[in-house]
Amino acid sequence: MKCIDVAAIVLLVAMPATAQEAPADAAAPRDGGWSVRWDDHPEVEWSGRLRVEFRARLQGDSRASRAAVERGDGDRFDVGRRRIGVDGAIGRAVDFQIEGEIEKTNPWRDVYANYRPLRGAQVQAGQFKIPFGLEETTSGGNLDFIYRSIVSTRLAPGRDGGVMLHGRVARRTVGYEMGVFAHDGDNARPKGGTRVFGGRTLAGRVTVEPFRHSKSTMSHVEVGVAFTRSPLPEGFPAVRGKSVLGVSFFDSDVWVEGNRRRDGVHVRWRPGPFSVASEYIRVSDDRRGQSQEGTNLPPFLARGWYVSGTWVVAGAAGAASADQPARPLFQGGFGSIQVAMRLERLSFGNVAETDSPSTSPRADVVLGNREIAMTTGATWHLNRWITLEGNVIRERIGGATVGSVPHLRVWSRLIRFQLAI
């Protein structure tokens, strides 16, 4: 680990400790002037007309796996992310966010402004996550596991530039997002090479909390459906099968052309210290004119689902959420501890041994592959800024009965230290 990383960790550990002890209203805004305070984040405000919050997140991962690791050096402690950003508001109707990573060739992440004349009708423009995928559109700092599910990272679109109309209606029981984006997200885009991805993308999502106003535990139920539609040029798709740590198990060497259709559905229930969530995503790529004779082939399919559950086993009482423990470490408590488990399955093409599946890029029945992964984890929020996470992942790729596709059974262990302000 570089000296600069160590220094950054020491500095960031020291800063929140000081901030935590400071009263939230230590520097209350003065009329017509600047004010500075640090509640959840360092914040600057000017006369109630401009508010800017500064955010930073530093993550260090230790990974051990019997499978190859796409990036990093296996067991070595690796500072995976150094992310900084600001978000804030201009007046009462516009808020914004700018976030980027240090030392990345493509540093910009969320860069957008949101105009909210009404709660039920807001317009967001810039680069941000396409409204698809429950887990994919959850902030990295709020995940229940170290990594998102492979279903989310491989099939959900991710970020792109675009404009979106969104809001909540019907007494906030119904949320909607509908936008147009330049492409179909950075998850679907190749980091190099000539693979194809979706063009101008129409995306939409509707979420419903049908019992939002009831007093029962069912008030925390949310269901949602989402879609994207994109034109797809001729080529091999960039959406490929990779394991949690990036080992390729299906290269998607299949000719596609036409339209890409993503469809997703999710359900989430968060009654108190427990939560369960599930999501299903299906990506269908047309193969127009791709047979040997130039006729259409059946679409190339990638599908996946996950089911996850969490339980805050300690430190939840009186806390707004598990990541903001009521009694932090060294302040009369030990923080909060959450355990979680996730089962997921991601498949490409046809993995059944029927109709002579073939690895030909123009096969009617594409011989695909699949992965089933089980992740078990624990998260210790020492305070609202410092988190320690541990995950154990059991992955089962392919099946030995299908001899011509890769198959593998592997355990991986992940530990993450995260410091966020």
Partner: protein, 408 residues
């Protein structure tokens, strides 16, 4: 209550038999098609490939590379889906009339066609007569040397006639089983990057990898694959004495080598073991429990070079063969096999008969082949030359043999 049926049991059994016979007739016709029929050299077959236009463009554009594209293969009523097709050959590579290798199991594990894992479609562009390869292979078989089975076909790609091709059985595992009864040994193809005349290339095994390309056991260590080949050429370059014969004989079947080269010499092969550019166009096969190699013939498009090519032409250039012929019994065998070739070729006009039969067989298909890189007149002249070769070569060789024997 039903009365007695007017159609008794024998009638019903007969009806069932008739229905079964009719309904399965098509299947039995299909299953009756065998690899022997595919290599039936008395007919011009018809092979059809369906290749996506984009892939076909890439195949032609990148014809110098071994780029595979998927295709559907059809012969008679048998269609094999999702086979792998690539351009093949060395000097014969062509964009307009590509030589093709068909791998039936490239994309579908275990898929075969008539039991074959692959086929070669030889574009015949370096042989204006179109029949040199076929006639040469026939003589090798006549002299009981293992050789690929072949037949002629019209090739259509996406229903467009591509020209006359030879269907050639590749030298692979299936071939080895047919020729030697097993396929677990080590098979190498002479890989022509530069001329090689049998010199000792030293202890570095990679030097031999440049000369002989493994065609099976590719993942095994070079020491396993190439040590016997290195040892062969190391021993070949030692002083010629009785020890030489014993040591070299451990690594190569010397009588088989002599027989093989004698047939090549009779055929006036310009691109074989004693070729103009050094050793070319053969496979080496080493059995599973032996260090001894033997040669398997491949690609005879440059045979029939000259009626009067001497029977010891370029022998002295080749270290291995020139030293082998220093032994009296091997030299005598060489002359004996040459004599066998000459007498066999001349017997009842066999060689000329084969040339006439095959050139007549493909005459129409050849004339309609507009992608061949020579005109019809050139083709006819080449055929006429082969007939002249068939008539004159045996007597020329026999005279040379007599002179050689008389002079010793």
């Amino acid at each position: 209550m039903c009365g007695a049926s007017p159609y008794g049991l024998p009638f019903r059994i007969g009806l069932v038999v008739i229905v079964w016979t009719v309904s399965t007739a098509g299947d039995r016709v299909a299953s009756a098609q065998t690899v022997e029929e595919l290599f039936d050299d008395g007919t011009v077959h018809e092979v059809r490939l369906s290749i996506n236009e984009r892939d076909l463009h890439e195949l032609r554009e990148r014809y110098l590379e071994n780029v595979y594209v998927p295709a559907d293969f059809q012969w008679r009523d048998q269609r094999v889906r999702n086979v792998g097709v690539r351009s093949r050959g060395l000097a014969s590579r062509s964009a307009s009339k590509p030589g093709l290798r068909i791998d039936f199991n490239r994309y579908t594990s275990g898929q075969t066609f008539l039991g074959l894992a692959s086929l070669v479609l030889d574009n015949l562009v370096t042989d204006p007569s179109l029949v040199r390869e076929r006639v040469s292979m026939a003589l090798f078989k006549r002299l009981r040397q293992p050789a690929s089975r072949e037949s002629f076909t019209r090739l259509y790609i996406n229903s467009v006639y591509q020209g006359i091709y030879a269907i050639v059985e590749p030298v692979d595992g299936d071939f080895l089983v047919r020729a030697f009864g097993e396929k677990s040994g080590y098979l190498f193809e002479r890989h022509f990057l530069e001329p090689y005349l049998g010199a000792d290339l030293g202890n570095e095994l990679t030097a031999y990898r440049r000369v002989f390309e493994p065609r099976n056991h590719e993942l095994e260590a070079d020491t396993v694959l190439y040590s016997p080949i290195r040892d062969l050429f190391h021993e070949v370059n030692q002083p010629v004495d009785t020890v030489w014969r014993e040591r070299v004989g451990r690594y190569i079947d010397l009588p088989q080598l002599v027989t093989y080269v004698a047939i090549e010499t009779f055929l006036s092969e310009a691109d074989g073991v004693l070729g103009l550019a050094g050793m070319a166009n053969f496979y080496l096969y080493r059995g599973p429990s032996s260090d001894q190699h033997r040669l398997i013939v491949w690609d005879r498009d440059h045979a029939f070079a000259a009626v009067d090519s001497p029977i010891f032409l370029r022998v002295e250039e080749n270290v291995l063969f020139s030293r082998a012929l220093a032994f009296g019994d091997l030299r005598a065998l060489y002359l004996d096999v040459l004599e066998q070739c000459a007498r066999s070729a001349a017997a009842n006009g066999w060689l000329e008969g084969e040339i006439v039969r095959l050139s007549t067989l493909i005459d129409v298909a050849a004339r309609e082949d507009v992608r061949k890189p020579y005109d019809d007149e050139t083709h006819q002249m080449a055929v006429e030359f082969l007939k002249q070769f068939a008539r004159q070569r045996p007597s020329f060789v026999l005279r040379e043999i007599a002179r050689e024997r008389g002079g010793r």
